[in-house]
C-alpha cells in the first residue's frame, strides 16, 4: 500500500513532492516578495545610495568622484551647520515635552467628558488633517502686526507692547514651533485616549476603595500604566520634531529658515543644499548625519524608557 502511494507521489511534479511546511514557506515568501522588492528598490537602495553619495562631490552638472570624508569635514567646520543643529534640537527639546504635556492634559480630561465627546475629539483631530501650507498661512496672519494679526490685537487690547514674532531672531523659532505643536496635538490626543481607555476601570475602583486621591491615582496608576503609549509618543514625536520642515518652509516662504537662519532646521538645510545649490554630495552627507542623529536619539529613548 505505502509503496504504491510513495511511487505515485514520486512520479508527481516537484510541487507535489514537497511537504506541507515547505509549501507554506513558499507561499509566505511569494506574498512577501512584492512589498520586499518595493521596499528594497524605493527605500533601501536610495538609502545606501545616499551613503555612497555622501563621500562624493556630485553636483548634477559634474559626474560624481570619490572625495573621502571631505564633505563631513566641511560640514563640521561650517558655522551654519552648528546653528541649524542647535535649532533642530530646540524644536526637539521644546516641542516634544510641550506637545506631550498639552495632549495628555487634554486627553485626560476629555476621557471624562461624555457630552459631545466624539465631536470634541474630532475638533482636536482636525488640524492633523489640514495641510501644513494652509496652516502656516493662517498662523502667519496671526503673527502679523496690528490690525491684521490676532495675537498682537489681543496684546494691544491688554496694553502690552506689540511683539515682532516671525521677524525677531529670538521669537521666530517658538513662533514657528507653536503651529507645529498644534498640528500634532490631535494625533497625540487620540493615541493617549486609546491608552487611557485600555486601562481597566476596576484598577481605578480598587484604588478608590484603598483610599488614593485623584493625584495619587494619576501618579501611581494612570501614568505607569500609560508607559507603553508614552514611549511610543515620545519616540514618534521626537522623530517628527527632528524632521520638521514644512511648517518652517511655509510660514516664511520668502526667506525660509529666516530671519538670519534662526528657524532653519537640518532638513531645510539639506533641501537648500541639494535643490538650491545642487551640491548633492554635500547634501547627502548632511542626510547621513541627520539619519545618525535620529537613530541615536530613538535608541537612547527606547533604552531609557524601557522597563525601569
Amino acid at each position: 500500500m505505502s509503496a504504491v502511494a510513495h511511487r505515485e507521489a514520486a512520479t508527481g511534479g516537484l510541487w507535489s513532492r514537497m511537504s506541507l511546511g515547505q509549501k507554506q514557506v513558499i507561499w509566505a515568501w511569494g506574498f512577501l516578495a512584492v512589498p520586499l522588492v518595493f521596499y528594497a528598490v524605493i527605500r533601501f537602495w536610495p538609502t545606501f545610495q545616499a551613503f555612497y553619495l555622501s563621500v562624493t562631490d556630485w553636483t548634477i552638472t559634474r559626474p560624481a568622484s570619490y572625495v573621502g570624508l571631505e564633505n563631513y569635514k566641511r560640514l563640521f567646520a561650517d558655522p551654519l551647520f552648528w546653528e541649524v543643529f542647535r535649532n533642530t534640537f530646540m524644536y526637539l527639546i521644546l516641542g516634544t515635552p510641550i506637545s506631550l504635556l498639552i495632549s495628555f492634559v487634554v486627553a485626560y480630561y476629555l476621557d471624562r467628558v461624555r457630552f459631545m465627546h466624539s465631536f470634541i475629539r474630532a475638533l482636536y483631530f482636525l488640524p492633523f488633517l489640514t495641510t501644513a501650507a494652509a496652516m502656516a498661512w493662517v498662523w502667519r496672519w496671526f503673527y502679523q502686526p496690528v490690525p491684521i494679526g490676532v495675537i498682537n490685537d489681543i496684546l494691544a487690547g491688554l496694553g502690552i507692547p506689540q511683539q515682532p514674532f516671525l521677524r525677531s531672531t529670538s521669537q521666530a523659532l517658538p513662533a514657528v514651533l507653536a503651529p507645529a505643536v498644534w498640528a500634532g496635538l490631535g494625533f497625540q490626543i487620540i493615541i493617549f485616549l486609546a491608552g487611557l481607555r485600555a486601562i481597566p476601570v476596576t484598577y481605578y475602583e480598587a484604588a478608590r476603595i484603598d483610599g488614593l486621591s485623584e493625584g495619587a491615582i494619576l501618579r501611581k496608576i494612570t501614568i505607569p500604566l500609560l508607559k507603553p503609549t508614552l514611549v511610543f509618543l515620545v519616540v514618534f514625536s521626537s522623530i517628527g520634531f527632528l524632521r520638521i520642515f514644512d511648517q518652517v518652509y511655509n510660514i516664511n516662504s520668502n526667506d525660509p529658515g529666516g530671519p538670519l537662519n534662526s528657524t532653519k532646521p537640518l532638513v531645510l538645510m539639506i533641501y537648500q543644499t541639494a535643490f538650491s545649490s545642487y551640491e548633492m554630495g554635500y547634501a547627502a552627507a548632511q542626510t547621513v548625519v541627520l539619519f545618525m542623529i535620529l537613530l541615536v536619539i530613538s535608541l537612547v529613548q527606547l533604552r531609557l524608557m524601557r522597563d525601569r
Binding site: 481597566p200 476596576t202 484598577y203 475602583e205 478608590r208 476603595i209 484603598d210 483610599g211 505607569p224
Partner: protein, 356 residues
C-alpha cells in the same frame, strides 16, 4: 468587623430601576452570598455597598453608621474584583501593601503586615514577582491579600472566581471559606453560580430583576424554595416541574396519575408538582408519591450517580440512579419520588404551596 444593613435600597439609571427597594440585614461575621442570573442587580447592590455606585434611594448602614454619602475609602471595606485589579507594574508585595496606602503604620509594621498576609495565602515565595509571572489563582490570592492586609470591616467579593478554570475555582472556593473561618470578617459575595452560593454561604440571597426573592441558609433554599425561580435556580440538575390539577383527594398530573396529597388551605386549580432529580429514583411505587415512567433518552454517567433522562408524554424528566446502575437508552423505566420529597407551586403566581 461589622453588620451591614440595607434599608429600602433603590438604584435607578435614568428611567430604568435596576434595584427595587431591597431590605437585607447581614450579621457581624456572616458570609452572605448574593446570587442570581446576570442583570438581576446583585453586582449593583454590592457596588452600592462599596460606594462605587451612588444610591438612588434608601439607606446603607455599615456598623450602624449610615454610609450613603461616604467615599469608598471612608467605609472601611475591602473589595475583590473579578479581574483581580492587581497592578501589573508593581510586585506582589507592592500590590498587597497598596491596601495599606492610607494607613499610618510605620514602614516596618506595614512590611510585617504584608508578610503576614502573604504567609496566610501562601504567597511568601512570590512577594518580589510581578503579576504577569503568576497564575490566575495566585493573582486572585494577591487581590485577597490586598483586601485582607487592612483588616477591614467587611469583604466584598464581586464574582472573584469567574475568571478561573473549574478546578482552581473549587480550590479557591475552599480557600476563601477557610479564610473566612479564620478571620471571621463579615463578607458579601456575589456570584451567578449556584454551586458557589450553596457551598460558601452562611446565608444565600436569591435576586431577580432587582428584587430579593428569598433569603435563607443553603439548606432552607434547597428544601423550601418560596417560588419556581428559586426552586429551579438552586440545585443541579434543575428541579423537574410537572403540570397538574388540584382536585378532591389529590393532584392529578396532566399526563395522568393521581398523587394523594392533602389539598392546601385555599384550593387552586392549576399547579406545578416539583421533584428534584436526586429524589426521583428507579423503584417500585409502594409508598405514596410521584410515579412517572417512560423510555430512557439520555444517560449521564457521573460515577457517584447516574442521571437518567426519560421521556414522559412529550416532557423530559430527569431522575437519578445509583452510580453503578446504568440503564440503557430506550429502556422503559419507572421513577418514583416519595410524597415528602415533592414540591408544589401555584402555576399562575409561581409561589410555593404547602401540600405536605
Amino acid at each position: 468587623m461589622a453588620t451591614i444593613e440595607l434599608d429600602r435600597l433603590v438604584k435607578r439609571y435614568g428611567q430604568t430601576t435596576v434595584v427595587h427597594g431591597i431590605d437585607l440585614s447581614i450579621q457581624d461575621g456572616e458570609f452572605v452570598v448574593l446570587v442570581g442570573p446576570s442583570g438581576c442587580g446583585k453586582s449593583t447592590t454590592l457596588r452600592m455597598i462599596a460606594g462605587l455606585e451612588e444610591i438612588s434611594g434608601g439607606e446603607i448602614r455599615i456598623a450602624n453608621r449610615v454610609v450613603n454619602d461616604l467615599q469608598p475609602k471612608d467605609r472601611n471595606i475591602a473589595m475583590v474584583f473579578q479581574n483581580y485589579a492587581i497592578y501589573p507594574h508593581m510586585t506582589v508585595a507592592e500590590n498587597i501593601a497598596f491596601g495599606l496606602y492610607r494607613s499610618t503604620l510605620s514602614k516596618s509594621e506595614k512590611r510585617q503586615r504584608v508578610e503576614q498576609a502573604a504567609e496566610t495565602l501562601g504567597l511568601s515565595h512570590l512577594l518580589e514577582r510581578r503579576p504577569s509571572a503568576l497564575s490566575g489563582g495566585q493573582r486572585q490570592r494577591v487581590a485577597i491579600g490586598r483586601a485582607m492586609v487592612r483588616d477591614p470591616a467587611a469583604f466584598l467579593f464581586d464574582e472573584p472566581l469567574s475568571n478561573l478554570d473549574a478546578q482552581l475555582r473549587t480550590q479557591m472556593r475552599i480557600e476563601i471559606k477557610r479564610l473566612h473561618h479564620r478571620l471571621g470578617t463579615t463578607s458579601v459575595f456575589v456570584t451567578h453560580d449556584q454551586v458557589e452560593a450553596m457551598t460558601m454561604a452562611d446565608r444565600i440571597v436569591v435576586m431577580r430583576d432587582g428584587h430579593i426573592l428569598q433569603v435563607g441558609t443553603p439548606l432552607e433554599l434547597y428544601e423550601k424554595p418560596v417560588d419556581v425561580f428559586t426552586a429551579r435556580f438552586i440545585g443541579s440538575p434543575t428541579m423537574n416541574l410537572l403540570p397538574a390539577t388540584l382536585k378532591e383527594g389529590g393532584a392529578e398530573l396532566s399526563t395522568g396519575g393521581l398523587i394523594r396529597v392533602s389539598p392546601p388551605s385555599a384550593p387552586r386549580a392549576d399547579v406545578l408538582i416539583g421533584a428534584r432529580p436526586q429524589d426521583l429514583v428507579p423503584s417500585s411505587p409502594d409508598t405514596p408519591g410521584l410515579t412517572v415512567s417512560g423510555n430512557v433518552v439520555v444517560v449521564e454517567t457521573l460515577g457517584s450517580e447516574t442521571l437518567v433522562h426519560i421521556e414522559n408524554a412529550g416532557q423530559t424528566i430527569i431522575g437519578s440512579a445509583p452510580g453503578r446502575q446504568i440503564p440503557k437508552v430506550g429502556e422503559h423505566l419507572t421513577l418514583h419520588a416519595p410524597l415528602d420529597r415533592l414540591y408544589c407551586f401555584d402555576k399562575s403566581t409561581e409561589k410555593a404551596l404547602a401540600i405536605r
